[in-house]
Symmetry: C2
Subunit: 359 residues, 2 copies
Amino acid sequence: MIKVGVNGYGTIGKRVADAVRAQPDMKLVGVAKTRPNYEAEAAVRKGYPLYAAIPEKSDAFRQAGIDLAGEIDDLVMQSDVVVDCTPSGIGEQNRELYERYDTRALFQGGEDADVVDASFNARANYDSARDDDVRFARVVSCNTTGLSRLMAPLDEAFGVEKARITLIRRGGDPADASRGPINDILPDPVTVPSHHGPDVNTIFPDLNIDTVGVKVPATLMHLHSVNVTLSETPTVEDVRDLLHEESRLFLVPDVAGIDGTGQLKEFAMDTGRPRGDLWENCIWGESISVEGDDLYLFQSIHQESDVIPENVDAIRAITDAADQRESMRATDENLGVGLESVFGGVRKRITPRDLNADD
Amino acid sequence: MIKVGVNGYGTIGKRVADAVRAQPDMKLVGVAKTRPNYEAEAAVRKGYPLYAAIPEKSDAFRQAGIDLAGEIDDLVMQSDVVVDCTPSGIGEQNRELYERYDTRALFQGGEDADVVDASFNARANYDSARDDDVRFARVVSCNTTGLSRLMAPLDEAFGVEKARITLIRRGGDPADASRGPINDILPDPVTVPSHHGPDVNTIFPDLNIDTVGVKVPATLMHLHSVNVTLSETPTVEDVRDLLHEESRLFLVPDVAGIDGTGQLKEFAMDTGRPRGDLWENCIWGESISVEGDDLYLFQSIHQESDVIPENVDAIRAITDAADQRESMRATDENLGVGLESVFGGVRKRITPRDLNADD
């Protein structure tokens, strides 16, 4: 049983906590939060032991009538692994805390790659975090996760000569009341490349990839306009078949009548997904096209949730508790990852292409 | 003096009428409109002779207290050229009307290329409309115009091996109250390529170009994420210098503090541009990047106005009233095209690269 603490209980932290609770081989020791807001209240209601992330602010919880199980040091001390889900840059500051208690930690994509021993994507480089020397790993950002899941099978099957991606990014999450833009389309960053390409290179050091970013007035999901020049030219069917095998890639069926991110989220909520989460890359089947050596497709990425299965796998990887196949299969099974199954009539659970053999 | 009629007085028609009025070598015979709405009222107030586009609906104008100069047939009969600015598909139906009076006509980009004898972009193929046999020409759409203006100098100077463009399109114009999306990012079309690539090929038959389209909740301008693999690899400075020479390309200066389409439009209004129009492609200078053989840049296109200078030039081309250099120079001078000048301290007027020689 892996004892897991979650430090930071916002958009990512609360989802990681729920996902950890769903794994029979893990125990959620508790969650830490800085302020007694509505999310803290919900954590307590769910029965999650709640710890004060900033000990000096413990009183604020008591004043709000929220019981604390202790302070952050207690949580770190009891955990085999802490998943740090604090805002970008805070993770780096927390590293010393985890070192103090000799507790392994996972950071999120907002931290710099050089804060950790390894950058992690379950599909692409699971084993990078299994080495005993790796005490700190980083689950790469939502966009980098989405790109890594796509590039891994494409590179294995056809060879990626060059990838060129335009990321059309949501301005903020649905609950971010202070972010924009409203009625604008902004190059963001205006310089090329955006940070995403170099970030993908922390997973695939040799991949030739250029990324550019744009920000638009939407909150639900990102959209990637993907172009990949391939070494071997497949047919559209070859690409569809390849991607169909991956449980964390959802090929939006032509018959589904799903035109955009709004309908994707509506579909997720209709299926009963917690918080309407879409853990899978959502790739429009109709968009998959081959023009000469160039593959094109559109994929939408749910920025709030696609990294959740990866965090669960990273917990097993950094504790060397399971190999890639075991872990991804367990994570997918326990969470219910794999939307393709609903439309195809067959539930598929485990998926990485190189793991499809019987053993 | 070229006698010009404008059929259709909406977003494009009203701008074409104003632009024609600003040309000393043209006379605006009048404008035709289907309904006596606020735009019709404004036309009359400006002193434009107003014609009923649908004769059976003439009474509606009288009932609204708006005087008509006549009916559409009168306008067509008196005109050397009619600029048809009616909604997509209506132009095709009007073609027979123009044939009846042996009047040449220009259509907009919403009409199919096979409705006309030539598809037109002033910078790229002005002479295509000068042939006496060309009685009907089509000024290509806002996006195709924007792409043609950019591809022409790039192809001449460096050779375009392949262009790959993601068009991040505004959902509707600012006055389109019934269009969406709200808070969504939609592949549009979901299939690849979008119609824009083939449309660019009506101007450059041999250009290797793939385009994909996305629709977002914004109204002000389109944004193009441009990738061009070039035959000869230039430096960033080479590209900047090349594009700087073109009056209809505005290199948004790094110092301008313009981050997106909202600030571009604000800037246009501050400079006193009519309706805040941006006739030029707005290319973010900072975005111009060369990675290997690949050029990247972002450009914004004002969908309501970038085709206006092209319509003016097309009038001269289809009546063989001026050559490319004369016409573009006159159009730019009379309208005030060329924003680069303001920042550079020097007013530049005429720009196509191959026309820079003294004569």
